[in-house]
């Protein structure tokens, strides 16, 4: 039995037996050393293999039933939750997981049956459907913030009601301004959440664990800075690397030593590539905004075939300063508040323009994910501002989770048309 047929059998099994038990069985099966060895042969890099191996063991921990579970939105300080040994599930990861397994039709249909509007972001709709269908373990805590994403707040509040854990639902309110008062306001919220969760877990808060999490997070930051620096210089860019595949370690697992280790491996791997680089590559450089589709798709292959490669992503930009482990809450508040998606749209625009210039990109793509107002609302201004520095922007309407909302023929023509424009410049 080949690797492809093993993968297909696994996916087929999940699609036909949609429940938590079948997912557990599948995770156990893939974790078998022989199966994992065969599965591992399909990984194109050491860091990719490490990511998959680690994600798998993490998912097994999530599903084993021995750990408290927290659902969390993308931009919350996961360092706090990891220091409390919570096992984490992110809607972006849940949506990606369901899309990758090809069960989105079912999870979206379930969400629709529960009054989720069709214009709500499919990450959250699919995650809600999957949670309703008990495809993921029941949460003990739900934590979200109103940083960028409003859908998370509302759908998570709904989930908290469904799972009857309204007293364990936390909404972190992000101030509009980045000043001292706002920082303190945010830090107090984080501190309260930390102590409240500790209290509900009936554990004595160990601030040293939190400090360690910040040290690990700083290590990740420092490796990621190096990775990004290498990517600025690496002309003949490794095809396999795409920062959009690293949502779980970059966000959900920040504060863990494993996530820091992953970025150390990545740095080492890319450095070796850079050392071997002899002459400038011929690929045109692309900046990618927002996330990517997580079901099987041809977008990045089409770009490659047409001489274009994504060399930087908005999501992998290091926007925050190194944190002070001795001042964990104010440091984490500072990290959150530095996010370019907070506050005035100019913050995001400045970040994008700076990345475009730093990486010397030839073009940019904004993947306009259905229902994501925070990202799509700025499309016009981003297009105009990038045009001022002679960088064409393709606003690619699609869906990261629902393949039915992203017709492959239309996507192909748009990308090819865009690459033809870039290649003719």
């Amino acid at each position: 039995m080949g690797i492809v047929s093993i993968k297909e059998k696994i996916i087929d099994s999940i699609q036909n037996n949609l429940d938590i038990k079948s997912v557990r069985k599948i995770l156990k099966l893939i974790s078998n050393p022989i199966v994992f060895f065969l599965y591992g042969l399909s990984f194109k890099s050491v860091s990719d293999k490490y990511l998959n191996k680690y994600s798998l063991s993490y998912m097994r921990e999530v599903y084993c039933g021995n750990h408290p579970i927290a659902y969390g939105s993308l931009f919350i300080p996961y360092e706090i939750l990891n220091s409390l040994n919570l096992k984490l599930i992110l809607p972006e990861v849940m949506g990606g997981f369901t899309a990758g397994l090809g069960v989105t039709d079912k999870t979206l249909s379930n969400a629709a049956n529960n009054w989720y509007s069709a214009d709500l972001c499919t990450f959250h709709r699919s995650a809600s459907g999957a949670a309703n269908m008990s495809l993921f373990p029941k949460p003990d805590f739900i934590i979200c913030s109103n940083l960028a994403c409003d859908a998370a707040c509302k759908s998570f509040e709904d989930m908290a009601k469904k799972f009857e854990i309204e007293d364990r639902f936390y909404l972190i309110d992000i101030p509009y301004e980045n000043d001292e008062i706002s920082l303190k306001y945010l830090a107090v919220q984080l501190e309260n959440i930390y102590f409240d969760i500790s209290d509900k877990l009936k554990i004595k808060p160990d601030i040293n664990n939190l400090k360690k999490a910040l040290i690990n997070s700083n290590k990740l930051r420092s490796h990621l800075l190096e990775v990004n620096k290498i990517r600025e210089e690496l002309f003949d860019y490794p095809q396999y690397y795409n920062g959009l595949s690293y949502i779980l370690p970059l966000f959900g697992l920040s504060g863990t030593s494993k996530a820091a280790e992953l970025y150390r491996i990545m740095e080492k791997e890319l450095k070796a590539k850079l050392r071997k680089q002899i002459q400038p590559g011929k690929m045109k450089k692309i900046l990618w905004m927002h996330l990517k589709p997580y079901y099987r798709n041809e977008i990045f292959n089409i770009l490659e075939e047409n001489g274009c490669r994504v060399v930087c992503e908005e999501i992998t930009d290091v926007f925050w300063e190194e944190m002070d482990p001795e001042k964990p809450f104010i440091s984490l508040a500072s990290k959150m508040i530095s996010n370019p998606l907070r506050g005035n749209g100019q913050n995001r625009i400045n970040t994008i323009l700076s990345m475009a210039e730093k990486y010397k990109v030839d073009g940019a793509i904004l993947f306009s994910h259905w229902g994501c107002r925070q990202s799509n609302g700025l499309a016009r201004i981003l297009k105009d501002r990038l045009a001022e520095i002679k960088i064409p922007l393709l606003i690619l309407d699609g869906d990261c989770v629902d393949k039915n909302n992203c017709p492959s023929g239309q996507i192909k023509t748009r990308i090819e048309g865009f690459t033809e424009i870039i290649n003719s410049l």
């Binding site: 016009r380 064409p392 309407d397 909302n405 017709p407 023929g409 239309q410 023509t413 748009r414 090819e416 048309g417 033809e420 424009i421 003719s424």
Partner: protein, 261 residues
């Protein structure tokens, strides 16, 4: 030297054969328009053979064949495939070299292409998304619902003073709306006028996003419908430049690009 461009659209397929002279100018030797049907491979082979026959040349005489349109990847005998965006731009510019905005309304898609005035190359484009409103198919469905030949839409547009607002943009809902209006005894001419304005509005929404720059050219099969031309010219307040046979513009552009290879 001969070249061929083949445009495989969702509804129709076009082929055109060009001959380049010593001064780098080209003549059109033949062009053919046919239905795409369900078998792209057969449609492309048939249309190519018909174009060869009409041009009185053999396949071996053609140096380069470029395929375009949504079925471009399925033309196995083509040397290259290029998107309809680049090909339409090339086709229009070979006829109207000063055009800065191109509107193409095809069977199932419509697009707007912006041309750089200095480089004479496309610099931006927009296409209709996921929905047939504002395309030839939309008009075909409505003509059927109204029981009026599509060719007569132009005459009706210019002979009718009033319009009925068509509020549905979805093809299915718009069809129901029309059936309901007919049921209420509304004059069909007013409905036709309203429909043509609604298609024009969809196109103008795309033009507005890219910014209108004149001269503007209209291509695609729908450009043969004087009603839509009238509605667009009235709303855009500009005269549209329409190539000699607007339906073959994509194929013409593909063939013109093939001459440069």
């Amino acid at each position: 030297m001969y070249s061929c461009g083949i445009d495989i659209g969702s509804v129709s397929t076009e082929a055109i054969i060009l001959k380049k002279d010593d001064n780098d100018n080209f003549d059109i030797c033949s062009y053919v328009i046919g239905r795409t049907g369900s078998d792209i491979k057969t449609a492309s082979e048939n249309i190519f053979n018909d174009a060869l026959l009409k041009a009185k040349i053999k396949k071996e005489d053609i140096k380069t064949i470029i395929a375009t349109g949504y079925g471009r990847k399925n033309v196995s005998f083509a040397n290259k495939n290029i998107t309809e965006i680049t090909c339409h731009a090339s086709g229009v510019l070979s006829v109207f070299p000063d055009v800065k905005t191109i509107i193409d309304i095809g069977g199932q898609d419509s697009k707007v292409i912006k041309i750089d005035k200095l480089t004479k190359k496309p610099i931006d484009f927009l296409m209709n998304d996921k929905c047939a409103a504002g395309t030839g198919r939309f008009l075909e469905v409505m003509a059927k619902a109204l029981d009026i030949e599509l060719e007569n839409f132009g005459k009706i547009f210019f002979n009718t003073n009033e319009k009925i607002e068509i509020t549905s943009t979805c093809t299915v809902f718009a069809e129901s709306e029309i059936v309901s209006l007919i049921g209420h005894g509304v004059d069909k001419g007013k409905i036709v006028k309203g429909l043509l304005y609604s298609v024009a509005d969809r196109i103008i929404s795309m033009i507005s996003r890219l910014g209108l720059e004149e001269p503007v050219s209209l291509t695609g099969g729908v450009a043969k419908n004087s009603g839509i031309v009238g509605a667009l010219e009235e709303k855009l307040k500009t005269k549209l430049l329409i190539p000699f046979e607007p339906q073959v513009t994509g194929a013409l552009g593909a063939a013109a690009l093939a001459l440069k290879i």
